[in-house]
């Protein structure tokens, strides 16, 4: 018994001492994407691991953010979602806004708002921010591309024009489109990580 007590306390102490110095696990290019399950606007649970074998795009969103408005107001985000979902890609839009913060919506409010944007993606609610933090999602938008084996292959900005101006959309090099095209075509991804731009995620 004493051995057990000693073992338990050694374990507990090492956890206690290790926790403060542990760096948060985040989505790192080349590493497996952190697992998650979240509810969609119908209250259905969506698990990332149920999409094994498919390419998955994760898009952090907040409809109140001017950078998100740039890509939805111009129809850019919806067009990308449609283009790639038609090719069998799974597109999940995740909102990590905490209760009372900009962008936070109930399931029914979110359902109406998504219908209004005409987004084809599945909208997932992460009001506790745990999935956002596990990915290291910092901005809206912040984009991640996961390949069929479940590995992160792109993390960062949607494109190379960090602005809120919809007029920049046609001039931009879209990193997400390039990454998804490459992964679908079995080609290496040219730009696998970029600094994301946008509003801070409202954790």
């Amino acid at each position: 018994m004493r051995r057990l007590v000693t073992a338990v306390s050694i374990l507990a102490w090492s956890v206690a001492l290790a926790v403060p110095s542990t760096v948060q696990a985040v989505a790192v290019v080349g590493k497996p994407a952190p697992a998650f399950s979240l509810r969609d606007t119908d209250g259905k649970t969506v698990r990332l691991d149920s999409f094994k074998g498919k390419v998955v795009v994760l898009e952090w969103t907040n409809y109140g953010c001017p950078f998100v408005k740039k890509h939805y107001g111009s129809g850019n985000m919806q067009a990308l979602q449609k283009k790639y979902m038609d090719q069998g890609v799974v597109w999940l839009s995740i909102c990590s806004s905490a209760k009372g913060k900009q962008g936070n919506m109930s399931e029914s409010e979110a359902k109406a708002a998504v219908a209004e944007t005409g987004a084809g993606s599945r909208y997932l609610l992460d009001p506790k921010g745990s999935v956002g933090k596990s990915y290291g999602a910092k901005t809206t938008p912040h984009m991640f591309v996961i390949d069929a084996s479940g590995k992160v292959v792109y993390a960062g900005a949607i494109d190379d024009k960090p602005s809120t101006d919809p007029a920049d959309v046609p001039k931009a090099k879209n990193y997400v489109a390039d990454a998804v095209d490459a992964v679908l075509g079995g080609q290496p991804i040219e730009v696998a990580a970029t600094p994301s731009y946008g509003c801070s995620v409202k954790y």
Partner: protein
């Protein structure tokens, strides 16, 4: 709104702004002498609670961008970024300005100017954030006479003096070295007189190099201070150089806060992380950790006390031990 965007110059003036940030275009000099660079600046006054961003905004945000509309042959220089401060929003950290800031930019006129005045105009775009973010934009202009003599200071010249005091110092007298390894990126420094600061904050000036929200380690050995940082999660490779601004507090015989420009090559190594300072918000984390450790200590003691009482179980199971 569409009309406003279509014809911004019609509305251009010396001041403007958004709901939360008032901006004014100022000149340090009262006139322009051909061939002689002069300094203009954008003064930004932020409403309480609102901030704008440094050249590297950190985890989120956008820096000020300027699109100049200058007379022929005039050239707008780089923005000279005043030393930023650090904002924590949720678990994210960004770099920028609250209150008031004057952002200076040098303008170089050509050696020959065939006019008696120069109209300095530009469109200024910034992101302003409190808890939420809004795009701010203003088209501003000012007109200065062209005179052959050296310009007299304008009425706003003192504001530029104050702004220069907020620019990081370029100094060859500080000694820097940097090392990057799997556990940390380290920056070591020695002040010109060998004195050491009480506190240090490093603002890296490029994205995807360091994690802005990770605590910065700080330790001092003799005359050398050492800071350690966490590499950005998706940094493509260890940085070849570490560039940014180092802000030091509590240096003896110096102002309360001193900012120094850092641009140092990074050598490969395996620096160990230095402990994070136990002040401010990280103090709270340390206090929480200490409380947790204290609880565990008590639990350990309680478990140890309970051990003898549980011995009968062991006897029953016939598992005898000394």
């Amino acid at each position: 709104m569409v009309l406003f965007l279509a014809a911004p110059t019609l509305l251009a003036a010396g001041s403007g702004g958004s709901e939360h940030v008032a901006v004014t275009l100022l000149s340090e000099a009262a006139s322009v002498r051909p061939g002689e660079p002069f300094t203009v600046g954008l003064r930004m006054k932020m409403a309480p609670g609102w901030h704008t961003y440094w050249k590297n905004p950190g985890d989120a945000g956008l820096p000020l961008r300027i699109e100049w509309d200058l007379p022929e042959g005039f050239r707008g220089g780089e923005i000279e970024w005043p030393t930023p401060s650090r904002f924590e929003t949720g678990s994210l950290v960004s770099y920028g300005y609250t209150g008031e800031v004057l952002v200076p930019v040098a303008i170089t006129p050509p050696a020959r100017v065939g006019a008696d005045s120069a109209r300095i105009a530009g469109t200024f775009r910034w992101l302003e954030c409190e808890d939420v973010c809004l795009q701010g934009e203003a088209s501003l202009e000012l007109t200065l006479p062209i005179l052959p003599e050296s310009p007299a200071p304008s009425a706003d010249a003192p504001a530029f003096e104050a702004s220069r005091a907020r620019l990081p110092r370029l100094s060859r007298e500080w000694r820097f070295s940097a090392e990057a390894g799997p556990r940390a990126i380290a920056l070591s420094f020695r002040s010109p007189d060998g004195s050491t600061p009480r506190r240090a904050t490093f603002y890296v000036d490029r994205a995807l190099v360091l994690e802005a929200a990770a605590p910065q380690g700080f330790a001092t050995t003799g005359e050398v201070s050492r800071m350690t940082f966490t590499a950005a999660a998706n940094a493509p490779a260890p940085p070849a150089r570490l560039t940014g601004v180092l802000v030091l507090e509590g240096l003896p015989n110096a102002p309360a806060s001193v900012a120094v420009q850092v641009d140092v090559p990074v050598s490969p190594g395996d620096p160990a992380p230095a402990p994070p300072p136990s002040a401010g918000t990280s103090g709270r984390t340390a206090a929480l950790a200490a409380a947790g450790v204290a609880v565990l200590f008590l639990v350990t003691l309680a478990l140890r006390r309970q051990t003898p009482r549980r011995r009968p179980f062991r006897r029953e199971s016939g598992n005898r031990e000394g």
